[in-house]
């Protein structure tokens, strides 16, 4: 996948190299959408060159899938007595979406903010919402690519088949989940004081939620009270929505409207907090 994106970037670069320098209208003069895509493209390029970001976002979910399936793959899970490998493909897919939309985003915007890069960008005419939309778009794209890779591995290595009729459900759940977690990322970054705190704080919040939300451990094996706790948080609803779409017994297009509703609600809360608290300036500002 990384190779594919690299190839696309190289092709684009080669096409551009043919044009005279400075020719053609700039992104800003081609309208708002062009400017958002311009920002997303350079954000993506920067992200793909970040080894740590690539590992945590694209490689680690794959490792989790391989390990969990290797250890628990043949266990039977839940009322349908499904093999656990069918369980782990959607569960780890939820983790992949969160890794790209939330974990990576919180860390990267904290770094950009603390290093004064967001501030410098704000000293240019680019509208604030373009910077946010560009990076969010990049995160959603990475989330979806990472999820598709997991599903392809699930399909061809483990024979976990996604019912064709539930593809709309999976897509909608993943996209809405990704948008909501991006909004939550902007909100959460406002609570982080410096770059070093970003990674531990994000993991401190997410690891427990992965365990109680049916990502690492099938929810049916958890005590009831823990499942109720998990239902308050968005991770459970993303994971449950994806599990539902994968379950062979599911009929229809695989959408759980209550899960989408909760995800949207969390996204709205994130957005509200971000609008109220987000700052472009370093927290550790001097003078």
């Amino acid at each position: 996948m990384i190779l594919l994106i690299r190839w696309l970037l190289r092709r684009r670069r080669e096409r551009r190299a043919g044009e005279p320098a400075g020719a053609g209208p700039t992104a800003a003069s081609r309208g708002r959408l062009a400017l958002v895509l311009h920002q997303a493209f350079y954000d993506l390029r920067g992200f793909l060159r970040n080894r740590q970001g690539r590992f945590f976002t694209l490689v680690l979910p794959l490792l989790f899938l391989v390990i969990f399936v290797a250890v628990f793959g043949n266990n039977k899970v839940g009322p349908g007595n499904l093999p656990a490998r069918i369980y782990y493909v959607p569960g780890i897919s939820a983790l992949a979406v969160i890794a790209a939309s939330f974990v990576n985003l919180v860390i990267s915007i904290t770094v950009l903010r603390e290093e004064g890069i967001l501030k410098r960008r704000r000293a240019t005419p680019v509208p604030a919402w373009v910077l946010i939309a560009g990076r969010t778009l990049m995160s959603i794209a990475v989330s979806l690519v990472s999820m598709v890779v997991l599903m392809l591995v699930g399909r061809f290595a483990y024979g976990v088949r996604l019912p064709t009729r539930t593809i709309p459900g999976v897509a909608m759940t993943a996209i809405l989940g990704s948008i909501s977690f991006c909004a939550l990322a902007y909100a959460f970054s406002t609570a982080i004081e410096n770059e070093d705190a970003a990674q531990p704080m994000v993991q401190a919040v997410m690891l427990p939620l992965y365990f109680i939300s049916g990502v690492f451990i099938p929810a049916v094996t958890l005590p009831n009270w823990l499942r109720h706790v998990a239902q308050v948080f968005p991770v459970q609803h993303l994971s449950h929505g994806l599990h539902h779409a994968f379950a062979p017994a599911t009929t229809g297009i695989g959408i759980v409207w209550s899960d989408l509703g909760v995800l949207a609600l969390w996204g709205a809360i994130g957005l509200a907090v971000a609008l109220f608290r987000f700052s472009w300036l370093p927290k550790a500002a001097t003078g």
Binding site: A21, G22, T26, A27, A28, S29, L35, H38, Q39, Y42, R45, G46, F47, L48, R49, N50, V111, L112, E115, G116, I117, K119, R120, R121, R122, A123, T124, P125, V126, P127, L281, P282, T286, G287
Partner: protein, 302 residues
């Protein structure tokens, strides 16, 4: 012509302290203006108000005819800012960083020409975070220039640089003059202000304590010169002619005279010495340096 930057009675209060205590400034088009002062004097607070990053407590501020507190995209198209602390764009080369920023503007400068202007031709394909401190600062200048602004703010552009990196940076800033840009520079290096600026304002304790050209700042051009020499054994300051004795400012092995007309007084001294058959091999005549003036002006802050 309307000044590019105009500030009247600017005040910024943090709690009980006035970080900026009512200052007036005017910067004309095409001028390199240095805002000189020790750390904590209120330089960055002022420049960030002018850039639109901070609100002010009171006073009137106009930058290119607009109040920066309400600066919109059209205004930002005309203003460039090199911030005191901002790092390189992660994961992008020098050229890509400039491509990203040039997309933000309607009529940006040519990317290659801008890279050449800051002398980074050989580093164009280098990852921006791998540049040295001095090179990164020059990339910052290029990023601030890419939109072809009329006015550029440079907030302490050479703090922490080694002497050769400073020279290179000065050369780049001096080049902005040829482009006809107006430059608002803050610095705590007196020699930087002297080297680059057409006009200097010294700020200390949130107030402007002096303003002028590098040659006239703080009345430097009217200040008395010092004449110093050592008298040979057997001769004392009391033996000097009355005209020179009246200028005596100190005698601690070396005689120090302060003079408003050094040429006439050195002449009198020479005549007197030749008459007595003595020489004054360590004679030196010195006008106050800008550093002396600056230290005098900002003394209460030290």
């Amino acid at each position: 012509m309307e000044p590019v930057v105009s500030v009247h009675g600017l005040r910024k209060r943090y709690g009980q302290v006035d970080a900026v205590a009512g200052i007036d400034l005017e910067v004309q088009r095409g001028e390199i203006f240095a805002f000189l002062g020790p750390n904590g004097a209120g330089k960055t607070t002022t420049v960030e108000i002018l850039e639109g990053f901070r609100t002010r407590t009171s006073g009137e501020v106009s930058v290119l005819g607009i109040d920066p507190a309400h600066g919109d995209a059209a205004w930002r198209n005309r203003v460039g800012a090199v911030l005191q602390e901002s790092n390189a764009e992660p994961g992008l080369t020098v050229r890509e960083s400039l491509q990203l920023y040039s997309g933000y503007y309607l009529e940006p400068r040519d990317i290659d020409a801008t890279i050449a202007l800051v002398g980074l031709e050989e580093k164009a394909e280098t990852m921006a975070p791998q540049l040295s401190g001095g090179q990164r600062r020059r990339l910052d200048v290029a990023l601030a220039l890419i939109g072809d602004p009329e006015l550029i703010f440079l907030d302490e552009p050479t703090t922490g640089f080694d002497p050769s990196a400073r020279r290179t940076a000065w050369h780049v800033i001096d080049g902005l003059r040829e482009l006809g840009k107006t430059v608002f520079l803050t610095t705590h290096y007196m020699d930087e202000a002297e080297q680059l600026a057409d006009r200097i304002a010294v700020i200390a304790g949130g107030q402007i304590v002096a303003e002028g050209t590098p040659g006239t700042l703080g009345g430097r051009n009217r200040m008395a010169a010092t004449i110093r020499f050592t008298l040979p054994e057997g001769t004392a300051a009391d033996d000097l002619p009355a005209e020179l004795r009246a200028l005596l400012a100190g005698e601690d092995g070396r005689v120090t005279l302060t003079s408003q007309s050094p040429l006439a007084h050195v002449g009198a001294l020479a005549e007197w010495a030749r008459g007595r058959g003595i020489d004054l091999p360590d004679l030196d005549v010195r006008r106050p340096t800008l550093e002396d003036v600056y230290l005098e002006l900002t003394r209460s802050e030290a």
